[in-house]
């Protein structure tokens, strides 16, 4: 009797979850949706001008240098790589124990290119570059929305991305916007099955950030969930998928070759993380430890806040899973849990650096009344202004 009740309960539960499930479009359909998508370029430009204008006004009012603030912390590392390449020995930070090996080469290479080999002001050019990349990324993001979420509000997505908490990273001399652009490009081309392009984008992704490597693994997860064991048969039928599998992480391996040549340690990008106090451990232990600060020492806000953000990330990841967006869920999972295993620092930054979290948030906002959704976006934008002010004051917890 109990078994019957439990089974019925399970059926009701899975049935109620099933209504959130989305259908994946066929490649032909995806292609035609992508072509038919009307990108709100005006909104994209307006959102960027308005938000950046307000941030700039805050800097001017507070007698701060906008450009200097946007090029601080990791921006300095990127500029260092642009001007003198990768370190041979550790020398950075106050203890002289950090090298620039943690920073992947594509963004600084692009920075070198747009500053004409370092001749132009890297702060100004870097900020312009990041924002220009964001314009393209938002355009691609809207196209991806049209493919996977037909009817979803692109304007909401654009304003959410441009103004949400932590969105100032998209204006900084950071690699976030480049990563967004490449991520959307590879997601679109994967849905359209333009596999040659996917190879290129994923290679560039793994040359941009370490988390880029996870794209291929997430692709594998999607294939396994959708096709089950026949995924392996399909792999044999489609050698282009196999090639994506090895081309995806190639960027990382090329970077490893450079590091081996420079330092003698191909894994220097990972080993150097200890200089920032990052050491591989159990992500769940780190999460619980961080959350426990709310009870034991709420005045120690940083770990408690970072852990709470990780919890939000887990919720968003689960939400993608409920919608059966397996590739996006896989990307969210790897982006969250691998850094979480090494500590709680910069968790919000990892999350905002991966567009699938913003897509999940957008999916949630799409389910509430329109006016409420816009109000929440506005509240997020106001909270972001407080973060921007802290960023100008070089608050280390925002790094």
């Amino acid at each position: 009797m109990n078994d019957t009740v439990a089974a019925a309960g399970r059926t009701v539960f899975t049935g109620s979850l099933r209504r959130f499930a989305t259908q994946t479009p066929t490649p032909q359909e995806a292609l035609s949706r992508a072509k038919a998508a009307r990108i709100p370029w005006l909104h994209i430009l307006l959102a960027l001008v308005v938000t950046r204008g307000v941030w700039l006004a805050i800097a001017v009012y507070g007698d701060q240098s906008y450009l200097h603030a946007m090029a601080q912390f990791d921006g300095s590392w990127f500029k260092g790589i642009m001007t003198r390449g990768y370190d041979i020995q550790a020398q950075g930070l106050s203890d002289g124990d950090a090298g620039n090996w943690a920073f992947f080469p594509l963004y600084p290479a692009l920075l070198w290119l747009v500053t004409l080999g370092g001749q132009l002001n890297p702060d100004l050019t870097g900020v312009l570059l990041s924002n220009a990349l964001l314009v393209v990324a938002l355009g691609l993001g809207c196209r991806y929305l049209a493919i996977t979420r037909p009817g979803a509000s692109m304007q909401l997505f654009v304003w959410l991305t441009a103004s949400m908490p932590y969105s100032f990273y998209f204006s900084a001399v950071y690699s976030e916007t480049l990563f967004w652009l490449l991520c959307f490009a590879s997601l679109i081309d994967w849905r359209c099955q333009r596999t040659g392009r996917v190879m290129l984008w994923t290679l560039l992704l793994s040359l941009t950030r370490a988390t880029g490597v996870f794209w291929v693994i997430a692709m594998g997860i999607e294939l396994l969930v959708r096709l089950r064991l026949f995924a392996f048969v399909e792999l044999w039928r489609r050698p282009d998928w196999l090639l994506i599998g090895v081309m995806g992480p190639l960027g990382l391996f090329l970077f490893m070759a450079v590091l081996y040549y420079q330092t003698g340690d191909a894994l220097a990008f990972s080993h150097v993380q200890i200089s920032w106090g990052r050491e591989m451990g159990n992500p769940f232990v780190n999460l619980i430890e961080g959350l426990s600060y709310w009870l034991t020492a709420p005045e120690t806000l940083r770990p408690a806040w970072q852990a709470s953000m990780a919890l939000v990330g887990i919720g968003l990841m689960a939400w993608l899973g409920v919608q059966r967006r397996w590739l996006e869920m896989g990307l969210a999972g790897f982006t969250l849990f691998v850094p979480l295993a090494t500590g709680l620092d910069a968790i919000p930054r990892y999350m905002i650096g991966m567009p699938v979290f913003v897509l999940a948030l957008h999916d949630l906002l799409s389910r509430v009344p329109r006016s409420l959704a816009w109000m929440l976006v506005a509240l997020g934008a106001i909270f972001n202004l407080w973060l921007v002010e802290n960023w100008y004051d070089a608050a280390f917890w925002l790094v």
């Binding site: 550790a90 089950r228 070759a257 200890i274």
Partner: protein, 231 residues
Amino acid sequence: MTQHSGLSEQGAEALYAAPRIAHRQRPWLLLMTAIVLAFELSMLWLARDPQVDDHYRRYFIDHATTCYRPIGEVPVIEMGNTYAVRKGEVLGNCGVLWAGFYSPKEDQAVSARLAEVTLRLKVAPGLHQPVVVGMDLSRYPDNAEPLPVQVVVNGTLLTHWPVGGSKERFEVDIPERLIASDGSISMTLKGPPPIAPRDVGLNANKFPIGLRLDVIALHSSPRTTTQKAGE
């Protein structure tokens, strides 16, 4: 639909379209896959054996020490005072602890990650008297049996301490001749091999932990005190 479309909600061809790879392209794609894979495997092979110096290996790879190189002043220890050894405290810098000690956080005890670790201590220059160095030491894990730890100062073996899991105060008398003219004392502790929490089933931490050091205290040698009283 493919013959196995019943196994998934949408079949492989419906989801991903039929393969567009021409028959003659296939060997080339497989060849390219093999070449790229061979390169990646060879990089992994090279990554197994980094060509780096000892400092790099100890700090970046083995995580055997908190400090890459000695940085920070070695502070002068006052007689009669007790010093907590923690990151952020007077004796928690890379000048004192750099060789083998690991001090992860300000609220955690400093622990050795090697069997042999060295502390750099300093007394007031020109002290001209033997001193007693006391240390609150324990060995990982908490239920570890006491095992001898050699105490070597400036290359001279002075004593053995039976250090177990429970925190205990140990003291060593350092003769005046082993204290350098600038007051510095190089004190090496050679203990049993450290143990990783993973190896004793406590948690997943793979980095070994040896001696834990909580407190250092210095006071005058009783011999000196007696001698002075006699005078």
